[in-house]
């Protein structure tokens, strides 16, 4: 159970004070798939970095299963081990082979047992990366390296998965395939996922709850509960899918219009 309690973040960019986030209140239950959707520049990437304590909030605090961390209280180490972070660019180290890249979190968290190595190999096998496990990431396609990035974030068995527009750079077809694979992984492991995206269709397909954000200052303007029956190829043509997408579009649209007028 994770909660952000009126978190706000102030950046000093080019000598003027930029309020990136103001008064964010978010709640992610155990095993819940939550999406955050918003135009670029609404601070959605900052939220996920505050949860993972990469960026310190200017005010407000984050509570995860009773542990709180905020501006000057760092995140307890136990909590870090329970989080996996996936970037938009796969971010594999070119000097390590794919297998070593995937085992990197084990090395950092000091999980050295053979049990963990087998677990890593099992995940590599399941993700279909075993054919290129001993190659260097330079020769991988974008889809494969993003897949390796996902596996790397899950190798230390986290129960919170933080994903910052992971499939943003892929073309439509690979993105759909990766979305469905992510859904299968999420159903099997039952972890809670915070998924950041700017693609509204992808958010509606994946999420149980969607937070819609607006820019300047970054704030949550609406929350949407999505309950599609079956989340697969056919759900694209489900009438409710249309209704959710247009509702998000309108919410974001008239904010932009407001600003334009």
């Amino acid at each position: 159970m994770m909660e952000l309690i009126n978190v706000s973040k102030r950046f000093i960019a080019r000598r003027e004070d930029l309020l990136a986030l103001s008064g964010i209140n978010m709640r992610v239950g155990d095993g819940e798939f939550v999406c955050v959707v918003g135009p670029s520049g609404c601070g959605k990437s900052t939220i996920i970095r505050i949860i993972n304590d990469i960026i310190k909030p200017s005010s407000g605090r984050v509570v995860v299963d009773g542990f709180t961390y905020e501006k000057n209280a760092p995140i307890p180490h136990k909590l870090i081990r329970r989080m996996g972070f996936i970037f938009q660019i796969p971010n594999l180290y070119p000097w390590l082979t794919v297998r070593e890249n995937i085992r990197l979190p084990l090395d950092i968290f000091g999980l050295r047992g053979q049990k963990w190595m087998n677990h890593a190999d099992f995940l590599i096998e399941k993700a279909g990366l075993s054919s290129c496990a001993d190659q260097y990431p330079g020769s991988l396609s974008q889809g494969m390296s993003q897949r390796a990035g996902v596996v790397r974030a899950m190798v230390h068995k986290p129960d919170i998965l933080l994903m910052d527009e992971p499939f943003g750079a892929l073309d439509e077809r690979t993105r759909e395939r990766m979305d469905f694979e992510l859904l299968d992984i999420w159903r099997e492991n039952g972890m809670s996922v915070v998924f950041i995206t700017h693609n509204i269709g992808e958010a509606v397909l994946l999420a149980q709850r969607i937070y819609i954000m607006a820019t300047a200052p970054g704030r949550i303007i609406d929350t949407l509960r999505v309950d599609l029956k079956k989340r697969d190829m056919s759900s694209f043509e489900d009438a409710r899918f249309e209704e959710y997408s247009s509702r998000i579009n309108n919410a974001i649209g008239n904010i932009l219009l407001e600003k334009a007028v």
Binding site: M83, F85, F87, I89, N91, Y93, W95, P105, D107
Partner: protein
Amino acid sequence: MEKTADEARTRLYLRDAFRHIAAQAALPVIALALWHVSVTWFDVPEWQIPSPPAIIKAMGADFRAILPHLITTYGNVLVGFTMAAAIGIALAIAIYFNASVGIAVTPFINLMCIMPLITLVPLLMLWLGFGSKAKLVAVVIQSFPIINLNALSAFAGVNPLRLELMESMKATKYQKMRCCILPDSLPGIFTGVKLAAVLALTAEVTSEITGGNAGLGARIIQYTQYMKMPQAFACVFYIAAFGLIFYQSLSFIERKLTKNY
């Protein structure tokens, strides 16, 4: 069919390799031939400009006389260079771990890079005598600032995304250095190392010419005083050959270490 394709490819590769070597060898061969022809044609006396065969004969005949000086020069440069590399990189790592060291040391090292430290050679000779101690100090002083500065700029110029991955796992400073910063900054470090190699050889030869009688530089001065030009040219050739081999081996090591970046 398969065999001929391979054959064609290897033949193509060989032809290309041959062309490559021919192009590289073209100018030196022409220069030597021109030199030889002009020397014999204008029958320039031996003591003014020796012809290439005369130099090669001198290299062979006087090898035993030149050998000790060869060893002192090569030895000084290699020992001085490795000490400088060790100091430079260790200092850079120390600055990474403790920024206040950086504040104290970096401005001076930046100045030491710019200032011609070759001017200290006579002073060092005065204090440390004409032996190889002064030469070693001159070589170290001349090359360690460049290595340190380039190592520092490589550490500062690490790809921020790769660092953010380490941040997301709350890696300790040591882990960040070992897993991400050091490998990523290898190309930068080698840039400084190769430049320092050039400067180390220059410092060594200059200090040999300035004082003392050990080392190839001093031998060149003596040979020219006694008008034994073939031996002088032989020493020049030994120094040039050492410089080239030293530089190319450093580049080779760099290519090996960073082949899959």
